[in-house]
């Protein structure tokens, strides 16, 4: 069997020095959505990462609140877009030069990977604030639709910068999504 792979990258990339450094903290975990009582693991991991990183900040309570909110959305996004609920989700955190760099890695259906690309493409023509309201209105009209405001909130509220790398596996109709998120210490302190 021949496995064909293709790769897609966002136009925006992060400084290599960030990605080349070993993570300060990383975790591989599984959240099987079939067992809905495992969902709370997303929040537990987010709170742990936030509390761990908050130790280098002065206003720890505020930083924990912001970092937990950001990390939780990234984890929930990776878990929801995992094609196989027994596949591992990878989360890592690096802190360098007042920048917090969070990365998730998960395996999704190719169609879901395309939705991620489409989401970032949409942001080139619409502001995060207008898209946020539009998504809420759409969801009110079609309640079964996914909310799709998680990543959007991080851009709108915390000036998060995103880059992605998507490696498609055509044989299995899946794609590995690496979603890279950069948050500046300044945007956290501004709250």
């Amino acid at each position: 069997m021949t496995i064909t792979c293709s790769s897609k990258e966002s136009n925006f990339t992060f400084p290599y020095i960030l990605e080349d450094n070993e993570p300060d903290l990383s975790l591989d975990f599984i959240v099987p959505l079939k067992l809905v009582n495992h969902w709370n693991r997303c929040s537990l991991v987010a709170n742990f990462f936030a509390t761990y990183q908050s130790q280098v900040f002065k206003n720890k309570d505020k930083v924990i609140s912001i970092l937990s909110t950001i990390t939780n959305e990234l984890i929930e996004n990776a878990v929801k877009f995992s094609c196989d609920q027994n596949k591992i989700v990878k989360l890592s955190l690096r802190y360098f030069n007042d920048l917090i760099y969070l990365e998730t890695k998960n395996t999704a259906k190719k169609s879901d990977a395309k939705r991620i690309i489409h989401f970032f493409d949409t942001l080139e023509t619409e502001t995060p604030e207008s898209l946020f309201i539009k998504k809420i209105e759409e969801n009110a009209a079609r309640p079964n639709k996914k909310s799709e405001i998680g990543l959007l909130s991080l851009i709108k509220d915390y000036q998060a910068k995103f880059a992605y790398q998507i490696n498609e596996d055509d044989a299995n109709d899946t794609a590995t999504i690496q979603l890279k998120t950069l948050i500046s210490q300044h945007s956290i302190n501004a709250h």
Binding site: L33, V36, N37, W39, N40, C42, S43, K62, S65, I66, S68, T69, N72, E73, E76, K80, E129, F132, I133, K135, I136, E137, N139, A140, P143, N144, K146, S147, I149, G150, L152, S153, K156, D157, Y158, H191
Partner: protein, 113 residues
Amino acid sequence: MSIGIQNEEVVIKDNIIYVKGSLRLPSPLDYDTYFEPIKSTIETASIDTPCKIDITQLKYLNSSGLTALGRLFILARKKNIPLHIIATSDIPWHKKSIPSLQKLWNQITVDFC
């Protein structure tokens, strides 16, 4: 403790709905049961009496929860019911997300305490 919820409570006292705890449920629809007291209050409210919602003790609300809250704000708009949200500037997401949701309906007032 329920799924994705910690120290949760929705209580109505002196005509104010208090939403408390940490709410991170998997989807907007999962909030239906939890937000039912808010929905029924909006549906039965009078247009000259604002529906008051106190979230000062709502520590976390994920994006699915924001969507569910936004749906309630749209319901209030459809019913022409004014909303009065009592939030706190001590919780960072309140300061960011509530003013954004406020744009859904021009009869929403927000107090930060």
